[in-house]
């Protein structure tokens, strides 16, 4: 293994060693959402004519778990290394800022995808689902995880304390995921909130991802692809810039 592969391996090993907390925990949380919301709303909500509410819920929940865990991986790893001081071992190596980026985001994508797959595997016991356009599923899973891993990288660099990171998670990531249409189609919202939802990049990640399963969505998957892709590019540009200038890690 060369340098960046080692860092990718180490970052993956880090979450894998505490898989009970980093993988099993999030899968259990998603299952609770599925059981409770599925049970409570199954007979009351009909989003698409051909799809049961529980089946509608699964891709959204899987994507939400994938996004949250991709974010959690890079951000918590960085903040811990900063607070504990062991980031110095990485700072002393010849790895370039691109290497850092690829390794941290790569490990985040891996954790996000593992959790997302975990959610599907477990929900297969409760419902059945179709795979209308598998390629879109893979594309949106990878892009979404990369986007959130990159956002986590930025948040991890920026935050100096754990509570700052928690604030970022509670006041930015959580509202945007919950308001993205995980539990509903935005067509069921009043026109004003429908309009607002169109400015939320999370909406496009979930909507595009769901298209891969049902072949129907609120907006065209190509529009979702463009929005998510453009957001990913911008966020990556910011992250690379921060790493290159050593923002908060090299004075």
């Amino acid at each position: 293994m060369n340098g960046w592969q080692t860092l990718l391996y180490k970052e993956s090993l880090r979450f894998w060693k505490v898989a009970f907390q980093t993988i099993a925990g999030p899968v259990l949380t998603a299952m609770l959402y599925l059981l409770i919301f599925g049970h409570a709303l199954e007979d009351h909500v009909k989003v698409y004519d051909t799809v049961s509410y529980t089946a509608f819920l699964v891709p959204g929940l899987a994507m939400m778990s994938l996004l949250q865990n991709a974010f959690a991986n890079s951000s918590s790893s960085l903040i811990m290394s900063k607070v504990m001081g062991n980031l110095v071992f990485l700072l002393l190596t010849p790895l370039s800022y691109v290497h850092w980026f690829v390794a941290y985001v790569g490990a985040s994508v891996l954790r996000g995808v593992v959790v997302g797959v975990g959610v599907f595997v477990v929900s297969a016991f409760f419902t059945t689902f179709s795979f209308a356009a598998p390629l879109w599923i893979i594309v949106f899973a990878l892009m979404g995880a990369a986007l959130m891993g990159t956002l986590g990288l930025i948040a991890g660099l920026w935050a100096e304390k754990f509570d700052q990171l928690a604030a970022f998670q509670n006041f930015v990531v959580m509202p945007m995921t919950f308001l993205s249409g995980v539990f509903y189609s935005i067509h069921s919202l009043p026109p004003f909130w429908q309009g607002v939802s169109h400015f939320n990049p999370f909406f496009y990640m979930i909507d595009g991802f769901r298209f891969g399963f049902f072949g129907v969505s609120d907006v065209s998957p190509w529009l979702s692809f463009s929005v998510v892709g453009a957001t990913l590019l911008v966020v990556s540009g910011v992250a690379l810039h921060l790493l290159r200038t050593g923002y908060k890690i090299r004075s």
Partner: protein, 319 residues
């Protein structure tokens, strides 16, 4: 080619609000135009009081901090423009006792090797573990290790890529006698094999015993730089040392170095010795365990620091 080269390196930090020290524009200089060349194969000591700028120098050298002006090279590689080569040439043992709680000792050393692109480093890792007395801790998690053991792991981590230049930032702070001896034997061996060693320490006995050359740093400037033997020769005075049970009169105390009951005066000849002993007697005190010894590095150090008291600019905070 110099192993380490500092050329007019300055590092300015924004002044903390509480500090009055510093340049007028709200910054203070942790390093003030430092120039220094360390040749390949040297065992070099960097001494200075807390806040003198020793750790800042090492941080700039290691690329953890960027110099405000000037350039730093490791074996000819600029630490900014050619950072990959510079960092490959450098092994740094950080001062803080930091560790990664997710891994055991062997995993950490394997991972650290991997960052430098080194595969199959098992033989060298075993040798490091052996030489640092860590063999039976190889599979222990970092959290389970005592402070001294963690310190050994830091040293091993710094050496996994066999760096030609080794930097030790106060490696023996809070470390027991046994580890100090093991550590110095090992580092001395590496030095004999051709590794350049740069050491900062507050244990001046260690510096005197190990370092061929020494630089003394104060408020970001080099105030003394010479071979250890020449520094000692230049001091050349002897020291009168005795114990007293009561406090010395102020006039005498000002000239003395006092450590608990032990009182020491620089004394070049018999006349000065007699003068001090007479003064003690006149004060109604009894000098016990009187001896005269040669000046050591600690005397030289205190002397140099005292001579440079007039320094007016800010004191670095990065000890």
């Amino acid at each position: 080619m110099a192993a380490i080269s500092f050329q007019s390196v300055s590092k300015a930090y924004p002044s903390p609000k509480s500090s009055k020290a510093g340049a007028s524009n709200g910054t203070f200089l942790a390093l003030d135009s430092v120039s220094l060349e360390i040749e390949e194969g040297e065992f070099f000591g960097l001494l200075g009081p807390n806040g003198a700028g020793k750790t800042t120098m090492i941080s700039v050298l290691a690329g953890l901090t960027r110099a405000t002006s000037g350039s730093v090279r490791v074996l000819g590689h600029d630490v900014q423009t050619d950072f990959a080569q510079a960092r490959r040439s450098l092994g740094v043992v950080p001062q803080e006792l930091v560790f990664d709680p997710f891994f055991n000792v062997r995993e950490l050393l394997r991972i650290q090797s991997g960052y430098f692109g080194i595969r199959n480093n098992g033989a060298w890792i075993d040798e490091l573990l052996e030489n640092l007395g860590l063999t039976d801790k190889a599979n222990a998690n970092m959290r389970q290790l005592s402070g001294g053991m963690k310190r050994r792991v830091l040293v091993a981590q710094a050496l996994v890529h066999k760096p030609p230049v080794i930097v030790l930032d106060e490696p023996t702070a809070g470390v027991d006698v046994e580890l100090r001896q093991t550590l110095w034997q090992f580092i001395a061996k590496l030095n004999r094999e051709g590794h350049t060693v740069l050491l900062t320490t507050h244990y001046l006995e260690e510096a005197e015993a190990l370092c061929g050359r020494i630089a003394m740093l104060k408020t970001g400037r080099i105030v003394a730089l010479d071979k250890t033997s020449d520094l000692l020769k230049a001091a050349s005075s002897n020291v009168l040392r005795f114990k007293v049970d009561a406090e010395l009169p102020k006039a005498l105390a000002d000239k003395a170095r006092i450590t608990g009951r032990i009182v020491q005066f620089p004394a070049n000849d018999a006349l000065e010795v007699e003068h001090y002993l007479a003064a003690v007697r006149e004060a109604g005190l009894v000098a016990q365990d009187v001896e005269i010894r040669k000046a050591d590095l600690e005397d030289v150090f205190l002397d140099v620091m005292a001579q440079n008291k007039g320094s007016t600019h800010g004191v670095g905070g990065a000890a």
